[in-house]
């Protein structure tokens, strides 16, 4: 059928841009875009891509289709500053960070603060400082909060409404205690050689109760308190 073939050829020549793309062409264009974008060291613009593909290719249309095809995948085709690149899906970015755990010992100040919170809970920062006899840095409390061994329990019903601190389940688990009531008393500390006989007769250590309930002089924390829970901007 030479005549009908000739007619087709003429039609194609006249209208190159709207030329019907065969499914194979289409697929091949998608593959080429995939390969070009994958191998590129930098994001590519539609113009960059157009220079590598057959003339008349609907680059944007193909890119959008490819973007959709990769939408649910572990890598996505994204557009940044008008250029296109493959990038790890946002929800999987955790895969690209390796957690390196560094074993650290608690500083002396942190140990003391933690112990005071354990024995004296609920306890305010001012009370901790009074017991230690030195100023406790914010960093020490922050660090202890980060270990998840202490928590903010509430606010003391006194002027200034200071935050009260207590220990957590994680604290008990780490130190192998059933409850904070299992912390040793004066006699046990003496028996273990941790306290010596120089302590005056009136010396005592509190017997903490770890109740989840607030003490009578404690108010609950306000979960919307911007001072305690900074809101993302």
């Amino acid at each position: 059928m030479p005549s009908s073939n000739a007619a087709v050829v003429i039609a194609v020549d006249n209208d190159a841009n709207s030329r019907a793309e065969t499914p194979d062409d289409h697929r091949q264009t998608q593959r080429m875009l995939e390969a070009l974008l994958f191998a590129a060291a930098e994001p590519l613009s539609a113009a960059d891509l157009a220079g590598r593909l057959p003339e008349g290719t609907d680059i944007i249309g193909h890119l959008k289709e490819l973007q959709e095809a990769y939408a649910g995948h572990g890598v996505n085709l994204v557009q940044v500053a008008g250029k296109w690149l493959f990038r790890t899906a946002g929800d999987l970015s955790f895969l690209l960070s390796r957690q390196a755990v560094e074993q650290k010992r608690l500083s002396r100040a942190a140990l003391e603060t933690l112990a005071i919170i354990a024995y004296h809970q609920p306890v305010t920062r001012a009370e901790i400082e009074e017991i230690r006899g030195v100023v406790t840095s914010k960093g020490t409390l922050d660090m202890l909060l980060e270990t998840n061994w202490i928590r903010m329990r509430g606010r003391r019903k006194t002027p200034g409404r200071p935050v009260t601190y207590g220990t957590t389940e994680a604290f008990l688990a780490h130190f192998g205690l059933d409850s904070v009531g299992d912390l040793p008393g004066v006699e046990e500390l003496k028996g273990a050689g941790l306290l010596d006989s120089r302590v005056p007769p009136g010396f005592s250590v509190p017997e903490p109760r770890a109740s989840e309930e607030l003490a009578p002089d404690e108010d609950p924390l306000d979960p919307n308190d911007p001072e305690l829970f900074p809101q993302p901007e």
């Binding site: 191998a39 942190a110 140990l111 017991i131 230690r132 306290l195 120089r198």
Partner: protein, 267 residues
């Protein structure tokens, strides 16, 4: 690359062969090229015909007074030897036979050809960085360091006990500053001397200073020490009837010889 590899112009006719010894990677390569020119399967190649071709080729080059590397001449000599062994009748028990030598040469040619083909197939593979590409912009793995703290219950208790203990002993030290010194006691006694014309129990003077039970001991001890000093200086007199009995004192200078009702006799 394979084009280059395969490319060294392989002349079809002998005339051009003559000038191209440098194009060969040694005599084995030359032999292999000649074998390929026979256009037959190398496994069925006639080693005798090949040897003759090689010798003829070397002869031509020498006729043209071209330099021939020693390697090629050694091979030519060996091939001449092989040729003679293949043509002359075998002697009994002679090792190796011409057939064996020919088989060895055929094997070496086949092996070299096999390696050539393998090299070509290797070179024509899709090669990373030439034909196929890895990710152009790999995403680096970020190492997030976070601290995992550890402490033992012993560390915790030791820190607590030590801090509390230091603090507690610190308070005792403060109290010690309230201790009566000998100097304090002497001042007090000196002020009161004028009122001690008669034997008076020391407790009477001291009791106003016994603010706490703890003070009693220190005031008593310092006063006793100070009083002994005043006795030595001849300013007061002291007397006690028996151990732990009340201690009496009087001003020695203004002393009146009036015995108190229950005053003990002079010792």
């Amino acid at each position: 690359m394979w084009e280059v590899y395969r490319a060294p112009p392989r002349p079809d006719g002998e005339p051009s062969l003559m000038i191209d010894v440098d194009g060969y990677e040694g005599p084995l390569d030359l032999l292999l090229t000649l074998a390929r020119n026979q256009k037959v399967d190398i496994t069925r190649i006639s080693i005798l015909a090949l040897a003759e071709q090689y010798l003829a080729f070397i002869e031509r080059i020498r006729d043209l007074r071209l330099e021939v590397a020693a390697d090629y001449l050694v091979m030519a000599a060996w091939l001449a030897y092989l040729k003679s062994k293949l043509l002359l009748p075998e002697e009994e028990g002679e090792e190796p036979t011409g057939e064996e030598l020919a088989a060895e040469l055929a094997f070496r040619l086949r092996r070299l050809e096999a390696m050539r083909d393998a090299a070509a197939r290797l070179a024509n593979r899709n090669r990373l960085g030439r034909d196929v590409f890895p990710r152009g912009a790999p995403e680096p793995v970020v190492v997030v360091r976070h601290a995992e703290y550890s402490a033992t219950l012993y560390d915790l208790l030791a820190a607590y006990a030590q801090r509390r203990q230091e603090k507690a002993i610190g308070i005792v030290t403060v109290k010690k500053r309230q201790v009566w010194s000998l100097h304090d006691a002497r001042d007090m006694l000196t002020r009161l001397i004028g009122r001690m014309a008669d034997w008076t129990p020391m407790e009477v003077f001291l009791s106003p200073h016994f603010s706490t039970p703890e003070m009693r001991a220190t005031v008593r001890a310092s006063s006793f020490g100070a009083s002994l000093e005043l006795v030595r200086e001849g300013r007061i007199e002291l007397r006690q009837t028996e151990p732990f009995a009340p201690l009496y004192m009087r001003d020695r200078i203004h002393a009146v010889p009036l015995p108190a009702p229950e005053a003990p006799t002079d010792a």
